[in-house]
Symmetry: D2
Subunit: 424 residues, 4 copies
């Protein structure tokens, strides 16, 4: 038996040790027996509906006490328009990392960054990196580009019909822009890309979105544009869809490296060798050597861009600050680069082309999330670009700290020490 | 001026309208002025330290009231070992989606799934998909493989030295396995892959991890193995690192499609045409046509696998249930496939090769998170495989619902309606 | 022993059966013994130098007779400027596929396509697909975009310096364009993209190239622009390089799917069901089902775009027609899509965003290569766009034929039959 | 108008300047007018048939003289089983690069490498790199793995049926192996991987193939195995296909980096700093800096692995030596790495996981191709592994030379000088 099918066989054997093939088959069958009750569904949050839902969930007194604590009960109405089928709240602990000095085009100052996570060592690691960056005078950060997109598609009988449609469409740019922008106070249509594949036409409409992350804005504006197009075009598509999986929404995509999705930020810092030695117990040379090895590792495992663990900082910041946590999937791409400078110090740069962040809309107005934005001094209008720059610098802090730990042979110890004693 | 540099120029102009080049340059400079105080750092959670941190954060009474509410104050000690530099908690609303009938090898039953999100429409959409799956008799789900990995690297003077080391290593499999497994009650070393690149050697050690997500377990076991190897090998590597960015940890990677990371699950359901019509207001044919278009969109945008928005369900479930939310970055890869059956019904399958989930360890023991796992009936030992199957079926519910909404031209309306009325 | 290291061990064992570890080590050592003579090197082709090279190659009378046959000897001077260190010619057999009817924006007619290959079944398969397309009235083809690029990079001390440089550069667009275009009769700078990564600046300059493939033109024009920039900029980069591996030159890259490299063509055809049945012995439905399965296969194996075997047709056409055969590596990306039409027929579309083809320059002027272009009626100026469209339709012919063969269960038989009888 | 649609509009305008929309539409229409004659098709090569084909191609006396020269006419029968619809031969000039000293596990010696190309500068560049490697004592090279694959797929009504089939299949390993191997003298089934996606089952059967590239062998063996499975399985699949686009055949795929396709080779050399200075007119430091920049460029453009121009050497060697030139598409992935050693010298490594090469079968037995293999001393049985190692070292020579040229600012000049004087 060859190597790989032996692995499959081994797993199958463990299954068969538990169930016979017929047992397994039975488990996989559709079951048409009585349907359990549906969740009383509503976007409206009312104590009655919440109660009905808990009754449905049955004998779950303890769970209810935890999720529907007094504070959540008293304030449940604030979550209206952020959730449906509400039953309570989950609490995630917040730790503070900082100060993180950011010398950005938009962010200027020493930030204390609230991070929500349940993973030991995460805050300690980002805190360590932040402090080192600050001791080095802070990180330079530059927002390079911004724009959030929606990608409708049209199908036609033939390339020829598609061409006629496209010819008409390209001459209607001003009308499309006007219709799309009429739906939004802040959004501006800043790019319109075209991709033809046989009788399929994909458009990518990209918008600036002010201080909102902007996905809903982009959807609503594109929907209006799409309707206008369908009503006015003399060449009728066979079908049209508002989104054809070409915008990169909620998933890592190679295309974000060629342009922008959300906000694109690059950041850099130079850590003096002495700081690397004292703060990370290693040397710039060893960190750069590690970077070279890890770059090959990333390339061979088939990642999009090459970096270490952007996702840790992004997830913790996104959850704390009312961002869309699902966007971690798309935001966690980019590059980390380390070099030894001619002076023997450590130069570090990170670039994130796909930061979906905002300081208005989404979860940013919820009390505990807004509190976190307030700790940053970045709540409300006027702060989204600064938030993007701080986020990139935070990611850089995490890269510095984890690489330092791996190089100083402290990675395992830190995790073991901080996570020890977990409740069973 | 060409198209693309005009775009860059436009953005530059908006910058220059705000700052002169010299102003911008000044903003980007390192600042060596007085360092702000560090966060009083500790993994220990004590009211005193929490108070000191809030004092550091200054005049933030409102923020403190929200994050350090009475419930959080009373229970702060529970977060020890899950966070450092604690200052309070963020509250995310939970909505319930379900029932979701899962006919899995491990998960069997009708699940009410707690989802934590601040994005309107998410719970409503997953709820809709879940109910439809349940009405169709439930989704079949099969855990196909499992294993969590750590990827140390070694460098040598030459390929020749590397070869001598490898020759020694391959003959020490039993010792390595024994040393690694000696550090863990549940983890078993189930695979050891080898990748040679010039004078670099990468190992990928893969472990079963019982009911824990297992990253820390894999780290600790690999660390022990690595130390044993370094102490015993007659061929000394130039350098060795515990992780070389080749495990896929915290990032989407193409390699997960060829094997497994965490847990790999496939799931399927057949929705009768009538159910598609009544529940989604469209037809199997139109959904399959959309799937074809979206597959091209995904391929052209350069995603890893082709799916719609796994990340939404994953993030919401992971946050509610104490999973590592940063793993959304790696878990949100895989495939969604839709077909019209010979009977004219809709067949849907999803496959997720990289589900990092557990029912013990990490955040799973925290009260509100454990409450969520209890609602699922999946808290504690013995449930991780079932949780993986439920997660895959939840993702399928989301795919069905979003594709249905796009096909029925309801996508924009649903988002606009449910998100309207946001606090400013 | 686990599965994967057992595989490695097995291979190692076969090695060790042949050589001891020390033997292997010795084989890998650098050897400083006497250097063998260098090849008498020159771009000039002269009988004397050719003779000297053959003398160097020693007792190789048979080889010389084959490579330096009378025809090659008589005509050797024609290869000057296409090769260095000339010793003779390799002969590849050419087969004809066709007629291939192309209804393109630029290509119009019934083409007999010369294909150079040594792989049995290739010409037969492309011939079959071509004839079917022709019987269906021909393939529609549309050149969608064109442009060949070069990607220089600059490094700076800091992002700030980079920004100053960029500010200067963006205001020098006209000068750069003029300098670049001054080096070429046909090339026009049509796009200038900018990518910033920390203190690295990447530019992608894209040119139209008339009827040449254009890589050398793009290099020379960019070199002039680069020199002008370096001489005139008030902000000196630390380093600058003419190409930073960001143009996609000679390698498959995801970026080509978002834009163009060389020429981008889409093509389509509808094959009546009867033609599929009679010509391919299968049905549109089965071919579309196969397409669905093969799309998942492509996505899971991590390809760029999803197609079958574009490379076969590209390599055979490129070699026959004097194109740069190394560009098969980059050209063989794109999409193939098949659908059943409402009438039950088979719709097929292919899209190739990265066709590097030309009808002047490179190898296109060599006698046997030009003869092949003449068979196509596409030799010399004015034909590059048509050649791109014919190439895309040829690739479509190959996709139709191979999918038909797999669906009709004839794939293996065709290969076995046509390749049988190989010389030992 | 935004940037990107302006680009599209510009292109559209150039089209409309040439044709009206209606003209373009007319050009794209299927044309059912008289079918031109088919190519007299046959795998048999006979002077009569060749004559008939040339008659079909009409008034092409010059082309015929070039393609069907006396040498080709006299020897046409040798191409039987390598081509169909034969009409003559294309001649590509061959240049010699070398000596290339290879200290491989299998290749041992100083090789003069025949390269067929029509691109100026290619041979000169590979020659330069080869000589430098040789001066440094030669390159170490190690074949790491080998195996060629075929990937059939099966579909079932449900995951449950698939599971039953798989359970049966896993217990039939020995029979499958025996049936597959019964079709081949040299091929051995060495791995059988399984991938489940909903009700789809993909198998990847990997074979050793002796000294043949082995694709046909793998196809024939897999076909036999597939037929045996279909005849014997008690669980009937709905459909089965011999290849499901999951083997990586003829296309770059991320999966090859995790395993092998064909042959996997790694190679290394250390070039003394003085040699870099004298031979390349640059320094190890500058080349390593370039490598860092080019690595980011490769990662951002979305390539599979990160290298410079493997494709150039591969295409030239493959064409000269009777390899399958279409396999350049898949072979041109991998990694190039450069480092400065502690002694200040330049360490270079290349790794190619997907080398499809053989020394028997395919085009290797044709006279001019075999002559090239004879120049290498690698014709016939027993040499495929050595050929793979030489190929990898050749690719390394090309990487060294091109990076040196870019770093010494000689890249453009070399191309301009060697390509000047092209025939118009």
């Amino acid at each position: 038996m060859t190597a790989s099918d032996r692995h499959a066989s081994d797993y199958f054997s463990t299954l068969l040790a538990k169930y016979s093939l017929d047992d397994m088959a039975k488990r996989l069958q559709p079951r048409s027996n009585a349907q359990p009750p549906r969740v009383p569904g509503s976007p409206i949050i009312s104590p009655d509906l919440v109660l009905q839902r808990w009754e449905l969930l049955g004998d779950a007194v303890d769970a209810r006490a935890e999720l529907l604590d007094a504070h959540s009960t008293a304030n449940m109405s604030i979550y209206q328009h952020n959730i449906e089928n509400f039953i309570g709240t989950v609490k995630l602990p917040i730790g503070i990392a900082g100060p993180l000095r950011v010398n950005g085009l938009f962010a200027q100052g020493d930030y204390y960054v609230p991070l929500a996570t349940t993973e030991a060592a995460l805050v300690a690691s980002y805190n360590r990196g932040s402090v080192l960056i600050t001791e080095a005078g802070g990180a330079a950060a530059a927002l390079l580009n911004e724009g959030v997109s929606r990608a409708p598609a049209f199908t036609f009988e033939s390339i020829e019909k598609l061409g006629r449609f496209l010819s008409w469409l390209l001459a209607r740019h001003d009308e499309i822009k006007q219709v799309a922008e009429s739906t939004t106070r802040f959004g501006k249509l800043i790019d319109l890309q075209i991709s033809v594949e046989g009788n399929h036409l994909y458009l990518i409409l990209t918008y600036s979105s002010g201080d909102a992350a902007g996905q809903n804005m982009a959807t609503i504006a594109t929907d209006a544009a799409l309707r206008w197009v369908l009503q006015n075009t003399p060449v009728k598509p066979r079908t049209a869809f508002i989104e054809a999986n070409f915008s990169g929404d909620k998933k890592a995509s190679a295309q974000s490296l060629q342009g922008v999705r959300g906000k694109k930020v690059t950041a850099e810092v130079t850590l003096p060798a002495a700081l690397v030695r004292d703060g990370l117990h290693t040397s710039p040379e060893r960190m750069v050597e590690y970077g070279r090895i890890a770059t090959i590792g990333g390339a061979m495992s088939g990642t999009i861009g090459i970096q270490g663990h952007f996702a840790n900082g992004l997830a913790a910041l996104f959850i704390a600050c009312g961002q869309d946590a699902a966007c971690v999937a798309e935001a966690a791409v980019g590059n980390t680069r380390m070099e030894v400078t001619p002076e023997g110090d450590l130069y570090v740069a990170v670039t994130l082309p796909n930061l979906i962040v905002g300081t208005v809309g989404g979860g940013t107005g919820l009390p505990s999330q807004q509190a976190c934005l307030n700790i940053l001094g970045l709540a409300g209008p006027g702060h989204a670009r600064a938030l993007a720059e701080v986020t990139a610098c935070l990611c850089m802090a995490g890269e510095i700290s984890i690489v330092g730990a791996i190089c100083a042979d402290e990675f395992t110890r830190a995790h073991a020490r901080l996570a020890r004693g977990h409740r069973p």
